[in-house]
Subunit: 313 residues, 2 copies
Protein backbone atom coordinates (compact mmCIF):
# COMPACT_ATOMS: atom_id res chain seq x y z
CA UNK A 1 0.00 0.00 0.00
CA UNK A 2 1.32 3.41 -0.87
CA UNK A 3 0.11 7.00 -0.77
CA UNK A 4 0.61 10.33 -2.48
CA UNK A 5 1.21 12.62 0.49
CA UNK A 6 2.08 12.31 4.19
CA UNK A 7 2.74 14.60 7.12
CA UNK A 8 4.47 13.71 10.38
CA UNK A 9 5.29 15.40 13.68
CA UNK A 10 8.40 14.82 15.78
CA UNK A 11 8.82 16.40 19.20
CA UNK A 12 11.52 18.58 20.63
CA UNK A 13 13.68 16.77 23.15
CA UNK A 14 15.76 17.53 26.19
CA UNK A 15 19.03 15.63 26.32
CA UNK A 16 21.12 14.91 29.42
CA UNK A 17 18.56 15.48 32.19
CA UNK A 18 21.39 17.16 34.04
CA UNK A 19 23.48 14.37 35.40
CA UNK A 20 22.79 11.96 32.51
CA UNK A 21 25.19 13.58 30.06
CA UNK A 22 25.06 11.90 26.64
CA UNK A 23 22.91 9.00 27.91
CA UNK A 24 19.49 10.29 29.03
CA UNK A 25 16.88 12.25 27.13
CA UNK A 26 13.17 12.91 27.03
CA UNK A 27 10.59 13.92 24.47
CA UNK A 28 8.44 17.00 25.06
CA UNK A 29 4.73 17.09 24.25
CA UNK A 30 5.46 20.30 22.38
CA UNK A 31 6.92 22.03 20.46
CA UNK A 32 7.90 19.82 17.55
CA UNK A 33 8.70 19.97 13.85
CA UNK A 34 6.35 18.91 11.08
CA UNK A 35 7.50 17.54 7.74
CA UNK A 36 5.19 17.13 4.75
CA UNK A 37 6.18 14.91 1.82
CA UNK A 38 4.62 14.41 -1.60
CA UNK A 39 5.52 11.41 -3.71
CA UNK A 40 7.08 11.91 -7.12
CA UNK A 41 8.44 9.60 -9.80
CA UNK A 42 11.91 11.09 -9.76
CA UNK A 43 14.09 9.40 -7.12
CA UNK A 44 15.66 11.23 -4.18
CA UNK A 45 14.47 14.16 -2.07
CA UNK A 46 13.94 17.80 -3.03
CA UNK A 47 13.25 20.42 -0.44
CA UNK A 48 10.50 22.63 -1.80
CA UNK A 49 10.12 24.75 1.31
CA UNK A 50 11.19 25.39 4.88
CA UNK A 51 9.07 27.58 7.09
CA UNK A 52 9.81 28.98 10.51
CA UNK A 53 13.60 28.92 10.35
CA UNK A 54 14.03 32.58 9.37
CA UNK A 55 15.87 31.46 6.26
CA UNK A 56 18.79 30.07 8.23
CA UNK A 57 18.65 26.38 7.31
CA UNK A 58 20.13 25.06 4.10
CA UNK A 59 17.71 24.19 1.27
CA UNK A 60 20.37 21.92 -0.22
CA UNK A 61 18.84 18.47 0.08
CA UNK A 62 22.29 16.88 0.31
CA UNK A 63 22.99 18.87 3.48
CA UNK A 64 19.68 19.46 5.27
CA UNK A 65 19.12 17.10 8.19
CA UNK A 66 15.52 16.29 7.15
CA UNK A 67 16.27 15.51 3.51
CA UNK A 68 19.45 13.58 4.29
CA UNK A 69 17.48 11.43 6.74
CA UNK A 70 14.66 10.88 4.23
CA UNK A 71 17.19 9.97 1.57
CA UNK A 72 18.81 7.43 3.87
CA UNK A 73 15.38 5.89 4.40
CA UNK A 74 14.67 5.74 0.67
CA UNK A 75 17.97 4.00 0.07
CA UNK A 76 17.26 1.52 2.85
CA UNK A 77 14.02 0.41 1.24
CA UNK A 78 15.52 0.63 -2.25
CA UNK A 79 12.80 3.04 -3.38
CA UNK A 80 12.48 3.85 -7.08
CA UNK A 81 10.39 6.97 -6.44
CA UNK A 82 11.31 10.06 -4.46
CA UNK A 83 9.63 12.90 -2.55
CA UNK A 84 9.21 16.63 -2.46
CA UNK A 85 9.53 17.86 1.10
CA UNK A 86 8.35 20.85 3.09
CA UNK A 87 9.71 21.39 6.60
CA UNK A 88 7.75 23.38 9.19
CA UNK A 89 10.14 24.37 11.98
CA UNK A 90 8.28 25.01 15.19
CA UNK A 91 11.22 24.85 17.49
CA UNK A 92 14.19 27.17 17.82
CA UNK A 93 17.56 26.32 16.28
CA UNK A 94 20.71 25.71 18.34
CA UNK A 95 18.73 26.03 21.55
CA UNK A 96 19.36 22.67 23.23
CA UNK A 97 15.97 21.28 22.26
CA UNK A 98 17.06 18.81 19.60
CA UNK A 99 15.97 20.87 16.61
CA UNK A 100 17.92 18.94 13.98
CA UNK A 101 16.87 15.60 15.45
CA UNK A 102 13.20 16.55 15.37
CA UNK A 103 13.40 17.51 11.69
CA UNK A 104 15.22 14.31 10.78
CA UNK A 105 12.79 12.13 12.71
CA UNK A 106 9.69 13.86 11.32
CA UNK A 107 11.04 13.48 7.79
CA UNK A 108 11.74 9.77 8.13
CA UNK A 109 8.42 9.02 9.84
CA UNK A 110 6.57 10.93 7.10
CA UNK A 111 8.36 9.18 4.24
CA UNK A 112 7.94 5.77 5.87
CA UNK A 113 4.18 6.35 6.09
CA UNK A 114 4.11 7.57 2.48
CA UNK A 115 5.66 4.32 1.28
CA UNK A 116 3.24 2.13 3.24
CA UNK A 117 5.22 1.81 6.47
CA UNK A 118 7.68 -0.87 5.33
CA UNK A 119 9.87 -0.32 8.44
CA UNK A 120 9.15 -0.42 12.15
CA UNK A 121 9.93 2.55 14.41
CA UNK A 122 13.11 0.84 15.59
CA UNK A 123 14.17 0.21 11.99
CA UNK A 124 13.81 3.94 11.27
CA UNK A 125 16.57 4.80 13.73
CA UNK A 126 19.59 4.50 11.38
CA UNK A 127 18.08 6.85 8.78
CA UNK A 128 17.23 9.41 11.48
CA UNK A 129 20.81 9.19 12.76
CA UNK A 130 22.13 9.82 9.24
CA UNK A 131 20.20 13.07 9.17
CA UNK A 132 21.31 14.12 12.65
CA UNK A 133 24.92 13.26 11.75
CA UNK A 134 25.17 15.96 9.10
CA UNK A 135 24.51 18.61 11.76
CA UNK A 136 25.76 17.42 15.11
CA UNK A 137 27.38 14.01 14.88
CA UNK A 138 26.22 10.43 14.84
CA UNK A 139 24.53 10.06 18.21
CA UNK A 140 21.06 9.21 19.46
CA UNK A 141 20.66 11.49 22.50
CA UNK A 142 17.94 13.55 20.84
CA UNK A 143 16.92 11.27 17.99
CA UNK A 144 15.94 8.40 20.30
CA UNK A 145 13.46 10.28 22.51
CA UNK A 146 12.06 12.18 19.52
CA UNK A 147 11.42 8.92 17.65
CA UNK A 148 10.32 6.68 20.52
CA UNK A 149 8.89 9.21 22.97
CA UNK A 150 9.09 9.17 26.76
CA UNK A 151 12.35 9.11 28.69
CA UNK A 152 15.15 7.18 27.02
CA UNK A 153 18.44 5.69 28.13
CA UNK A 154 20.83 5.74 25.18
CA UNK A 155 23.75 3.33 25.39
CA UNK A 156 24.71 3.45 21.74
CA UNK A 157 23.33 3.98 18.25
CA UNK A 158 21.61 0.61 17.78
CA UNK A 159 17.91 0.29 18.58
CA UNK A 160 18.78 -2.54 21.01
CA UNK A 161 20.97 -0.12 22.96
CA UNK A 162 18.07 2.21 23.68
CA UNK A 163 15.88 1.56 26.70
CA UNK A 164 12.74 3.37 27.72
CA UNK A 165 12.47 4.43 31.35
CA UNK A 166 9.25 5.11 33.26
CA UNK A 167 7.78 8.61 33.17
CA UNK A 168 6.60 9.78 36.61
CA UNK A 169 2.92 10.83 36.60
CA UNK A 170 2.39 14.54 37.22
CA UNK A 171 5.80 15.45 35.83
CA UNK A 172 5.63 18.94 34.34
CA UNK A 173 8.43 20.93 32.78
CA UNK A 174 9.03 24.66 32.49
CA UNK A 175 11.38 25.71 29.71
CA UNK A 176 12.88 29.04 28.85
CA UNK A 177 15.10 29.74 25.85
CA UNK A 178 16.97 33.03 25.97
CA UNK A 179 17.78 34.79 22.72
CA UNK A 180 21.43 33.83 22.71
CA UNK A 181 23.18 31.28 20.54
CA UNK A 182 25.17 28.45 22.12
CA UNK A 183 26.53 26.29 19.31
CA UNK A 184 26.72 22.64 20.35
CA UNK A 185 30.32 22.57 19.16
CA UNK A 186 31.28 25.32 21.60
CA UNK A 187 29.35 23.68 24.43
CA UNK A 188 31.31 20.49 23.69
CA UNK A 189 34.66 22.25 23.46
CA UNK A 190 34.48 23.56 27.03
CA UNK A 191 34.08 20.10 28.54
CA UNK A 192 37.06 18.57 30.33
CA UNK A 193 38.69 15.71 28.45
CA UNK A 194 39.72 13.99 31.67
CA UNK A 195 37.90 13.95 35.00
CA UNK A 196 38.85 12.72 38.49
CA UNK A 197 37.81 9.16 39.31
CA UNK A 198 35.87 10.53 42.27
CA UNK A 199 33.75 12.65 39.90
CA UNK A 200 32.78 9.45 38.10
CA UNK A 201 31.73 7.91 41.42
CA UNK A 202 29.57 10.93 42.26
CA UNK A 203 28.09 10.99 38.77
CA UNK A 204 27.25 7.27 38.67
CA UNK A 205 25.61 7.55 42.10
CA UNK A 206 23.48 10.47 40.95
CA UNK A 207 22.43 8.64 37.78
CA UNK A 208 21.52 5.57 39.84
CA UNK A 209 19.44 7.78 42.13
CA UNK A 210 17.75 9.41 39.13
CA UNK A 211 16.81 6.11 37.49
CA UNK A 212 15.56 4.78 40.82
CA UNK A 213 13.44 7.92 41.28
CA UNK A 214 11.91 7.47 37.80
CA UNK A 215 10.84 3.92 38.66
CA UNK A 216 9.37 5.07 41.95
CA UNK A 217 7.64 8.04 40.34
CA UNK A 218 9.32 10.36 42.82
CA UNK A 219 9.63 13.74 41.08
CA UNK A 220 11.32 15.45 44.03
CA UNK A 221 14.06 12.83 44.10
CA UNK A 222 14.29 12.93 40.31
CA UNK A 223 14.87 16.69 40.34
CA UNK A 224 17.39 16.49 43.18
CA UNK A 225 19.37 13.78 41.39
CA UNK A 226 19.33 15.64 38.06
CA UNK A 227 21.00 18.63 39.70
CA UNK A 228 23.90 16.60 41.13
CA UNK A 229 26.01 16.85 37.97
CA UNK A 230 29.52 17.96 38.97
CA UNK A 231 31.13 17.59 35.57
CA UNK A 232 29.15 19.08 32.70
CA UNK A 233 27.11 21.95 34.15
CA UNK A 234 30.08 23.52 35.96
CA UNK A 235 32.06 23.48 32.69
CA UNK A 236 29.22 24.98 30.66
CA UNK A 237 27.62 27.32 33.17
CA UNK A 238 29.45 30.40 31.91
CA UNK A 239 27.88 29.92 28.46
CA UNK A 240 24.36 30.14 29.92
CA UNK A 241 23.42 33.69 30.87
CA UNK A 242 21.73 34.09 34.26
CA UNK A 243 21.88 30.37 35.03
CA UNK A 244 22.05 30.83 38.79
CA UNK A 245 19.40 33.53 38.88
CA UNK A 246 17.01 31.53 36.70
CA UNK A 247 17.41 28.51 38.98
CA UNK A 248 16.65 30.59 42.04
CA UNK A 249 13.58 32.12 40.37
CA UNK A 250 12.29 28.73 39.21
CA UNK A 251 12.60 27.25 42.68
CA UNK A 252 10.99 30.26 44.29
CA UNK A 253 8.04 29.57 41.99
CA UNK A 254 7.89 26.00 43.30
CA UNK A 255 10.08 24.09 40.83
CA UNK A 256 11.96 21.15 42.36
CA UNK A 257 15.09 21.46 40.24
CA UNK A 258 16.52 23.04 37.12
CA UNK A 259 19.07 21.90 34.57
CA UNK A 260 20.48 22.91 31.21
CA UNK A 261 18.53 21.33 28.33
CA UNK A 262 21.02 19.53 26.10
CA UNK A 263 23.89 21.85 25.23
CA UNK A 264 21.76 24.89 26.16
CA UNK A 265 20.97 27.73 26.32
CA UNK A 266 17.43 26.46 27.08
CA UNK A 267 16.98 25.87 30.79
CA UNK A 268 14.45 23.36 32.06
CA UNK A 269 12.79 23.32 35.47
CA UNK A 270 11.25 20.14 36.87
CA UNK A 271 7.85 20.60 38.51
CA UNK A 272 5.14 18.37 39.93
CA UNK A 273 2.06 20.29 38.80
CA UNK A 274 0.92 22.26 35.79
CA UNK A 275 0.29 25.35 37.93
CA UNK A 276 3.82 25.37 39.26
CA UNK A 277 5.30 24.75 35.80
CA UNK A 278 3.33 27.71 34.45
CA UNK A 279 4.49 29.94 37.29
CA UNK A 280 8.09 28.73 37.00
CA UNK A 281 8.17 29.42 33.24
CA UNK A 282 6.93 32.97 33.84
CA UNK A 283 9.41 33.53 36.67
CA UNK A 284 12.29 32.26 34.58
CA UNK A 285 11.32 34.51 31.67
CA UNK A 286 11.12 37.49 34.05
CA UNK A 287 14.78 37.05 35.01
CA UNK A 288 15.84 37.59 31.40
CA UNK A 289 13.34 40.43 30.90
CA UNK A 290 14.80 42.29 33.85
CA UNK A 291 18.17 42.10 32.13
CA UNK A 292 16.68 43.35 28.89
CA UNK A 293 17.04 39.95 27.23
CA UNK A 294 14.35 38.38 25.10
CA UNK A 295 13.36 34.78 25.69
CA UNK A 296 10.71 32.20 24.87
CA UNK A 297 9.09 30.42 27.81
CA UNK A 298 6.72 27.48 27.82
CA UNK A 299 5.47 24.75 30.07
CA UNK A 300 4.75 21.24 28.89
CA UNK A 301 4.97 17.57 29.83
CA UNK A 302 6.92 14.55 28.64
CA UNK A 303 5.62 13.37 25.28
CA UNK A 304 4.91 9.71 25.87
CA UNK A 305 4.22 8.98 22.24
CA UNK A 306 7.13 10.53 20.33
CA UNK A 307 6.98 11.00 16.57
CA UNK A 308 3.72 10.30 14.75
CA UNK A 309 1.94 10.54 11.43
CA UNK A 310 -0.51 13.45 11.25
CA UNK A 311 -1.92 13.03 7.77
CA UNK A 312 -1.74 10.36 5.10
CA UNK A 313 -3.55 10.36 1.79
CA UNK B 1 14.68 -2.58 79.36
CA UNK B 2 18.13 -4.08 79.38
CA UNK B 3 19.73 -7.50 79.19
CA UNK B 4 22.83 -9.38 80.30
CA UNK B 5 23.92 -10.96 77.04
CA UNK B 6 23.24 -10.58 73.34
CA UNK B 7 24.40 -12.13 70.09
CA UNK B 8 24.02 -10.72 66.59
CA UNK B 9 24.77 -11.76 63.04
CA UNK B 10 25.87 -9.46 60.21
CA UNK B 11 26.24 -10.72 56.66
CA UNK B 12 29.14 -10.64 54.27
CA UNK B 13 28.64 -8.15 51.46
CA UNK B 14 29.68 -7.64 47.89
CA UNK B 15 30.55 -4.05 47.06
CA UNK B 16 30.60 -2.47 43.59
CA UNK B 17 28.45 -4.95 41.63
CA UNK B 18 30.99 -4.46 38.85
CA UNK B 19 30.12 -1.17 37.29
CA UNK B 20 28.83 0.45 40.52
CA UNK B 21 32.26 1.19 41.97
CA UNK B 22 32.01 2.71 45.45
CA UNK B 23 28.23 3.20 45.20
CA UNK B 24 26.48 -0.18 44.96
CA UNK B 25 26.59 -3.17 47.28
CA UNK B 26 24.56 -6.15 48.37
CA UNK B 27 24.23 -8.35 51.43
CA UNK B 28 24.70 -12.10 51.12
CA UNK B 29 22.50 -14.61 52.95
CA UNK B 30 25.71 -16.21 54.14
CA UNK B 31 28.42 -16.25 55.35
CA UNK B 32 28.45 -13.64 58.08
CA UNK B 33 30.14 -12.76 61.35
CA UNK B 34 28.62 -13.26 64.78
CA UNK B 35 29.42 -11.09 67.78
CA UNK B 36 28.46 -12.02 71.35
CA UNK B 37 28.47 -9.41 74.11
CA UNK B 38 28.06 -9.70 77.86
CA UNK B 39 27.22 -6.69 79.96
CA UNK B 40 29.60 -5.56 82.70
CA UNK B 41 29.71 -2.65 85.11
CA UNK B 42 33.06 -1.37 83.90
CA UNK B 43 32.61 1.02 80.96
CA UNK B 44 34.10 0.42 77.53
CA UNK B 45 34.65 -2.76 75.51
CA UNK B 46 37.04 -5.64 76.14
CA UNK B 47 37.63 -8.32 73.57
CA UNK B 48 37.67 -11.63 75.38
CA UNK B 49 37.97 -13.78 72.31
CA UNK B 50 38.11 -13.92 68.54
CA UNK B 51 37.53 -17.23 66.81
CA UNK B 52 37.97 -18.12 63.17
CA UNK B 53 40.56 -15.52 62.22
CA UNK B 54 43.60 -17.74 62.60
CA UNK B 55 44.97 -15.32 65.18
CA UNK B 56 45.43 -12.56 62.62
CA UNK B 57 43.09 -9.86 63.96
CA UNK B 58 44.11 -7.53 66.75
CA UNK B 59 42.68 -8.20 70.21
CA UNK B 60 43.38 -4.59 71.13
CA UNK B 61 39.93 -3.16 71.71
CA UNK B 62 41.09 0.30 70.66
CA UNK B 63 42.02 -1.03 67.22
CA UNK B 64 39.67 -3.91 66.42
CA UNK B 65 36.84 -2.94 64.06
CA UNK B 66 34.16 -4.68 66.20
CA UNK B 67 35.18 -3.17 69.53
CA UNK B 68 35.79 0.29 68.10
CA UNK B 69 32.30 0.22 66.59
CA UNK B 70 30.75 -1.01 69.84
CA UNK B 71 32.60 1.69 71.76
CA UNK B 72 31.29 4.35 69.41
CA UNK B 73 27.78 3.08 70.06
CA UNK B 74 28.27 3.14 73.85
CA UNK B 75 29.49 6.73 73.66
CA UNK B 76 26.53 7.69 71.50
CA UNK B 77 24.04 6.49 74.10
CA UNK B 78 26.22 7.75 76.95
CA UNK B 79 26.35 4.30 78.52
CA UNK B 80 27.77 3.93 82.02
CA UNK B 81 28.27 0.17 81.67
CA UNK B 82 30.42 -1.67 79.18
CA UNK B 83 30.67 -5.08 77.50
CA UNK B 84 32.90 -8.08 77.09
CA UNK B 85 32.94 -9.16 73.48
CA UNK B 86 33.59 -12.36 71.57
CA UNK B 87 33.88 -12.25 67.79
CA UNK B 88 33.16 -15.32 65.66
CA UNK B 89 34.65 -14.76 62.20
CA UNK B 90 32.89 -16.85 59.62
CA UNK B 91 34.12 -15.02 56.61
CA UNK B 92 37.59 -14.70 55.18
CA UNK B 93 39.71 -11.61 55.77
CA UNK B 94 40.85 -9.27 52.98
CA UNK B 95 38.81 -11.22 50.47
CA UNK B 96 36.47 -8.56 49.08
CA UNK B 97 33.50 -9.74 51.14
CA UNK B 98 33.33 -6.91 53.63
CA UNK B 99 34.85 -8.79 56.55
CA UNK B 100 35.61 -5.75 58.71
CA UNK B 101 32.21 -4.22 58.00
CA UNK B 102 30.40 -7.42 59.02
CA UNK B 103 32.24 -7.54 62.36
CA UNK B 104 31.56 -3.87 63.06
CA UNK B 105 27.88 -4.17 62.19
CA UNK B 106 27.37 -7.37 64.19
CA UNK B 107 29.04 -5.76 67.21
CA UNK B 108 26.88 -2.65 67.10
CA UNK B 109 23.65 -4.56 66.52
CA UNK B 110 24.49 -6.88 69.44
CA UNK B 111 25.31 -4.05 71.85
CA UNK B 112 22.25 -2.07 70.81
CA UNK B 113 20.06 -5.08 71.61
CA UNK B 114 21.88 -5.59 74.92
CA UNK B 115 21.06 -2.04 75.98
CA UNK B 116 17.37 -2.33 75.10
CA UNK B 117 17.56 -1.13 71.48
CA UNK B 118 17.72 2.62 72.17
CA UNK B 119 18.68 3.34 68.54
CA UNK B 120 17.05 2.49 65.22
CA UNK B 121 18.94 0.61 62.51
CA UNK B 122 19.59 3.88 60.67
CA UNK B 123 20.91 5.47 63.86
CA UNK B 124 23.41 2.62 64.20
CA UNK B 125 25.15 3.58 60.96
CA UNK B 126 27.65 6.12 62.37
CA UNK B 127 28.98 3.70 65.01
CA UNK B 128 29.38 0.96 62.38
CA UNK B 129 31.28 3.40 60.16
CA UNK B 130 33.61 4.26 63.05
CA UNK B 131 34.53 0.61 63.31
CA UNK B 132 35.00 0.19 59.56
CA UNK B 133 37.10 3.37 59.48
CA UNK B 134 39.88 1.90 61.61
CA UNK B 135 40.45 -0.79 58.97
CA UNK B 136 39.53 0.54 55.57
CA UNK B 137 38.38 4.14 55.71
CA UNK B 138 35.16 5.95 56.49
CA UNK B 139 32.82 4.66 53.82
CA UNK B 140 29.54 2.79 53.73
CA UNK B 141 29.96 0.49 50.69
CA UNK B 142 29.98 -2.64 52.81
CA UNK B 143 28.55 -1.36 56.09
CA UNK B 144 25.28 -0.22 54.50
CA UNK B 145 24.26 -3.52 52.88
CA UNK B 146 25.47 -5.50 55.92
CA UNK B 147 23.35 -3.36 58.25
CA UNK B 148 20.26 -2.82 56.10
CA UNK B 149 20.31 -5.92 53.88
CA UNK B 150 19.34 -6.19 50.24
CA UNK B 151 20.95 -4.15 47.47
CA UNK B 152 21.99 -0.65 48.48
CA UNK B 153 22.89 2.54 46.64
CA UNK B 154 25.37 4.46 48.75
CA UNK B 155 25.65 8.17 48.00
CA UNK B 156 27.44 9.15 51.20
CA UNK B 157 27.85 8.24 54.85
CA UNK B 158 24.54 9.58 56.17
CA UNK B 159 21.60 7.20 56.51
CA UNK B 160 19.57 9.54 54.28
CA UNK B 161 22.13 9.06 51.53
CA UNK B 162 21.55 5.32 51.38
CA UNK B 163 18.74 3.95 49.22
CA UNK B 164 17.58 0.38 48.94
CA UNK B 165 17.08 -0.99 45.44
CA UNK B 166 14.82 -3.90 44.46
CA UNK B 167 16.24 -7.42 44.56
CA UNK B 168 15.24 -9.48 41.51
CA UNK B 169 13.49 -12.72 42.45
CA UNK B 170 15.48 -15.85 41.60
CA UNK B 171 18.79 -14.03 41.82
CA UNK B 172 21.47 -16.50 42.88
CA UNK B 173 25.16 -15.85 43.34
CA UNK B 174 28.21 -18.11 43.02
CA UNK B 175 31.30 -16.94 44.85
CA UNK B 176 34.84 -18.23 44.86
CA UNK B 177 37.66 -16.88 47.00
CA UNK B 178 41.13 -18.01 45.96
CA UNK B 179 43.80 -18.33 48.63
CA UNK B 180 45.59 -15.15 47.70
CA UNK B 181 45.64 -11.87 49.55
CA UNK B 182 44.63 -8.66 47.82
CA UNK B 183 44.88 -5.83 50.34
CA UNK B 184 42.22 -3.19 49.71
CA UNK B 185 44.94 -0.53 49.82
CA UNK B 186 46.78 -2.16 46.91
CA UNK B 187 43.54 -2.63 44.96
CA UNK B 188 42.89 1.10 45.46
CA UNK B 189 46.42 2.13 44.52
CA UNK B 190 46.18 0.63 41.03
CA UNK B 191 43.12 2.69 40.11
CA UNK B 192 43.58 5.62 37.73
CA UNK B 193 43.26 9.02 39.38
CA UNK B 194 41.89 10.60 36.22
CA UNK B 195 39.68 8.99 33.58
CA UNK B 196 38.49 10.12 30.14
CA UNK B 197 35.12 11.90 30.07
CA UNK B 198 33.91 9.23 27.65
CA UNK B 199 34.59 6.54 30.26
CA UNK B 200 32.28 8.40 32.63
CA UNK B 201 29.58 8.41 29.96
CA UNK B 202 29.93 4.67 29.43
CA UNK B 203 29.96 4.01 33.17
CA UNK B 204 26.90 6.14 33.93
CA UNK B 205 25.02 4.44 31.10
CA UNK B 206 25.88 1.01 32.48
CA UNK B 207 24.83 1.98 36.00
CA UNK B 208 21.54 3.35 34.65
CA UNK B 209 21.00 0.08 32.82
CA UNK B 210 21.81 -1.91 35.96
CA UNK B 211 19.39 0.02 38.18
CA UNK B 212 16.69 -0.24 35.52
CA UNK B 213 17.26 -4.02 35.34
CA UNK B 214 16.92 -4.32 39.12
CA UNK B 215 13.54 -2.58 39.03
CA UNK B 216 12.39 -4.79 36.18
CA UNK B 217 13.70 -7.93 37.88
CA UNK B 218 15.71 -8.77 34.76
CA UNK B 219 18.71 -10.79 35.95
CA UNK B 220 20.17 -11.24 32.45
CA UNK B 221 20.22 -7.47 31.92
CA UNK B 222 21.53 -6.94 35.42
CA UNK B 223 24.46 -9.27 34.81
CA UNK B 224 25.21 -7.76 31.41
CA UNK B 225 25.23 -4.24 32.85
CA UNK B 226 27.42 -5.22 35.81
CA UNK B 227 30.10 -6.44 33.42
CA UNK B 228 30.27 -3.17 31.47
CA UNK B 229 32.77 -1.54 33.84
CA UNK B 230 35.60 -0.08 31.74
CA UNK B 231 37.42 1.68 34.55
CA UNK B 232 37.91 -0.41 37.69
CA UNK B 233 38.09 -4.03 36.57
CA UNK B 234 40.63 -3.35 33.80
CA UNK B 235 42.87 -1.61 36.34
CA UNK B 236 42.57 -4.40 38.92
CA UNK B 237 42.36 -7.47 36.73
CA UNK B 238 46.06 -8.30 37.05
CA UNK B 239 45.65 -8.63 40.83
CA UNK B 240 43.00 -11.32 40.43
CA UNK B 241 44.50 -14.66 39.40
CA UNK B 242 42.69 -16.49 36.61
CA UNK B 243 40.02 -13.79 36.25
CA UNK B 244 39.38 -14.43 32.58
CA UNK B 245 39.42 -18.22 32.94
CA UNK B 246 37.05 -18.14 35.93
CA UNK B 247 34.62 -15.94 34.00
CA UNK B 248 34.64 -18.33 31.06
CA UNK B 249 34.10 -21.31 33.36
CA UNK B 250 31.24 -19.60 35.23
CA UNK B 251 29.46 -18.73 32.00
CA UNK B 252 29.96 -22.18 30.59
CA UNK B 253 28.17 -23.43 33.70
CA UNK B 254 25.26 -21.11 32.91
CA UNK B 255 26.13 -17.96 34.85
CA UNK B 256 24.96 -14.73 33.19
CA UNK B 257 27.89 -12.57 34.28
CA UNK B 258 30.82 -12.37 36.65
CA UNK B 259 32.49 -9.52 38.48
CA UNK B 260 35.10 -8.89 41.16
CA UNK B 261 33.52 -8.74 44.62
CA UNK B 262 34.63 -5.49 46.25
CA UNK B 263 38.38 -5.12 45.98
CA UNK B 264 38.76 -8.86 45.36
CA UNK B 265 40.10 -11.48 45.11
CA UNK B 266 36.64 -13.05 45.54
CA UNK B 267 34.88 -13.38 42.22
CA UNK B 268 31.10 -13.43 42.02
CA UNK B 269 28.98 -14.93 39.28
CA UNK B 270 25.38 -13.83 38.73
CA UNK B 271 22.91 -16.66 38.10
CA UNK B 272 19.16 -17.08 37.78
CA UNK B 273 18.71 -20.43 39.51
CA UNK B 274 20.17 -22.28 42.47
CA UNK B 275 21.23 -25.19 40.27
CA UNK B 276 23.23 -22.95 37.98
CA UNK B 277 24.81 -21.10 40.92
CA UNK B 278 25.88 -24.42 42.42
CA UNK B 279 27.36 -25.57 39.12
CA UNK B 280 29.06 -22.22 38.53
CA UNK B 281 30.65 -22.23 41.99
CA UNK B 282 32.07 -25.71 41.37
CA UNK B 283 33.31 -24.77 37.91
CA UNK B 284 34.99 -21.63 39.22
CA UNK B 285 36.71 -23.59 41.98
CA UNK B 286 37.91 -26.14 39.46
CA UNK B 287 39.80 -23.44 37.55
CA UNK B 288 41.91 -22.70 40.61
CA UNK B 289 42.31 -26.38 41.48
CA UNK B 290 43.73 -27.09 38.04
CA UNK B 291 46.35 -24.44 38.72
CA UNK B 292 47.12 -25.99 42.10
CA UNK B 293 45.52 -23.08 43.96
CA UNK B 294 43.25 -23.55 46.94
CA UNK B 295 39.95 -21.69 47.07
CA UNK B 296 36.65 -21.54 48.90
CA UNK B 297 33.51 -21.68 46.78
CA UNK B 298 29.90 -21.17 47.79
CA UNK B 299 26.55 -20.31 46.33
CA UNK B 300 24.02 -18.13 48.06
CA UNK B 301 21.38 -15.42 47.52
CA UNK B 302 20.99 -11.78 48.43
CA UNK B 303 20.28 -11.43 52.13
CA UNK B 304 17.13 -9.31 52.21
CA UNK B 305 17.23 -8.84 55.94
CA UNK B 306 20.79 -7.75 56.75
CA UNK B 307 22.09 -7.77 60.30
CA UNK B 308 19.92 -9.25 63.06
CA UNK B 309 19.85 -10.25 66.68
CA UNK B 310 20.25 -14.00 67.20
CA UNK B 311 20.00 -14.25 70.99
CA UNK B 312 19.08 -11.89 73.77
CA UNK B 313 18.82 -12.72 77.45
Amino acid sequence: MSFTRAEAFAPATMANLGVGFDILGLALCEPGDIVRVVRREQPGVSIVGIEGDGGVLTRDSRKNTASVAANAFLQTIDAQDGVEMTVYKHLPLASGLGSSAASAVAAVVAVNALFGSPLTLAELLPACLEGEACVSGYHADNVAPSLFGGITLVMGVEAGQIHKLPVPPNLHLALVTPNVGVPTSEARAVLPKMIPLQAMVTQTAAVARLVSALYRGDIEEMAAAMELDTVVEPARAHLMPMLVEVRVAAKKAGALGMVISGAGPTLCAVCDSEGIAKAAAAAMKDVYSEEGMGSAARHTQVGIEGARVLNLA
